[in-house]
């Protein structure tokens, strides 16, 4: 079977923003949910998730806070107003890009 390696490095921030649009979440769960929802297609090394989270936090798109859960302290991330706007812009850009891509791929041969 022909396999396509999917590089989501550039798209990871948008996936994180989308995941957090449903409420605060922590790193491990964000990674699992992205992988599960894409049925394993969007696979990535989980070590790259944290630089992306920190980058988004630095840009003011997320805020982080710690929570104690079953004797563990977890770092939760939450979308800010600026993050919501960035997600809307990302979605719009993605729709524009994918529509253009589809136009080419669906061209009758």
């Amino acid at each position: 079977m022909y396999s396509v390696s999917v590089n989501i490095k550039g798209g990871l921030p948008a996936l994180i923003l989308q995941n957090l649009s449903r409420g605060p979440n922590h790193g491990y769960r964000i990674a699992q949910e992205i992988k599960q929802k894409s049925k394993g297609v969007l696979d990535f090394k989980e070590g790259t998730l944290y630089p992306s989270l920190h980058g988004l936090e630095g840009k003011g798109l997320l805020v982080s806070h710690t929570r104690d859960e079953n004797g563990r302290t977890r770092c939760y991330y939450e979308l800010t107003e600026k993050g919501k706007q960035a997600l809307a812009a990302e979605k719009q850009e993605w729709h524009r890009f994918s529509s253009a891509f589809n136009l080419i791929l669906q061209e009758a041969t």
């Binding site: 990535f44 090394k45 070590g47 944290y50 630095g58 840009k59 003011g60 004797g71 977890r74 770092c75």
Partner: protein, 223 residues
């Protein structure tokens, strides 16, 4: 952050050592705790699915990916020890009273020498006087007040920008001087080098937002 202990995970410690190399202590601490928590949750999930503990740890570590690649990402988004020390020195230098007064005195002396030389060579003084005032008085004075702010804390990016402007003004002055009097070429080259350090740092700080979360505490003292 995490109370979870992983006594049989020396490879995780190694991974973290590589991934957080060169970063400041607060940045290291935050990353370590988050990754340790992530690792613990991954191991827990794999063991719950019937995987033996050692295999679960190896799988969890493999899922984290390449530590060197992670380190590269982290270094582009968090302050390194060297950068923090440089910012610390810059703050102390720009905000110190004694240094400031010495700086004014030296500037005055330099200006006197400068005008004396210019008179001897019959060159106009309006341009070098303006550039000299910017270089030796205006920028250091603004930097002084910016670096002494305590609430909110000093804007490091603004300080760096002032330093870049200082270097640029200094270069312009030296070039002008070199053209007129054929001097100061060496001074220009020596004075220009900080721009190669300040510009990339200024650009990086624009990407990472604030620096204060990565600055070690008790070191941000302005004399």
């Amino acid at each position: 952050m995490s109370g979870t202990k992983m006594p049989h995970a020396p490879k995780l410690a190694e991974w973290l050592e590589i991934a957080t190399a060169e970063l400041t202590t607060p940045a290291k601490k935050r990353i370590r705790l988050e990754i340790e928590e992530h690792f613990a949750a991954a191991v827990e999930s794999h063991t719950a699915n019937g995987c033996p503990e050692t295999d679960a740890q190896s799988t969890a570590l493999a899922e984290l990916g390449d530590a060197i690649a992670a380190a590269k990402h982290f270094r582009s988004l968090r302050l390194t020890e060297k950068e923090a020390q440089y910012i610390e020195r810059m703050l102390k230098y720009s905000g110190g009273w004694i240094r400031m007064l010495l700086y004014y005195a030296m500037s005055l002396l330099l200006c006197l020498c400068f005008f004396h030389l210019l008179k001897r060579h019959n060159a106009p003084v309006a341009f070098p006087a303006t550039a000299g005032a910017i270089v030796f008085f205006v920028i250091p004075t603004i930097s002084f007040f910016v670096s002494r702010r305590s609430n909110p804390k000093p804007d490091i990016r603004l300080l760096l920008l002032l330093q870049i402007l200082y270097t640029l003004s200094y270069m312009v002055l030296c070039i002008w001087w070199a053209v007129r009097i054929n001097l100061a070429m060496v001074g220009m080259l020596v004075g220009a080098w900080p721009i190669f350090r300040d510009l990339p740092l200024w650009h990086k700080l624009g990407k990472i937002g604030g620096v204060w979360q990565d600055m070690p505490p008790n070191e941000t003292i302005v004399s």
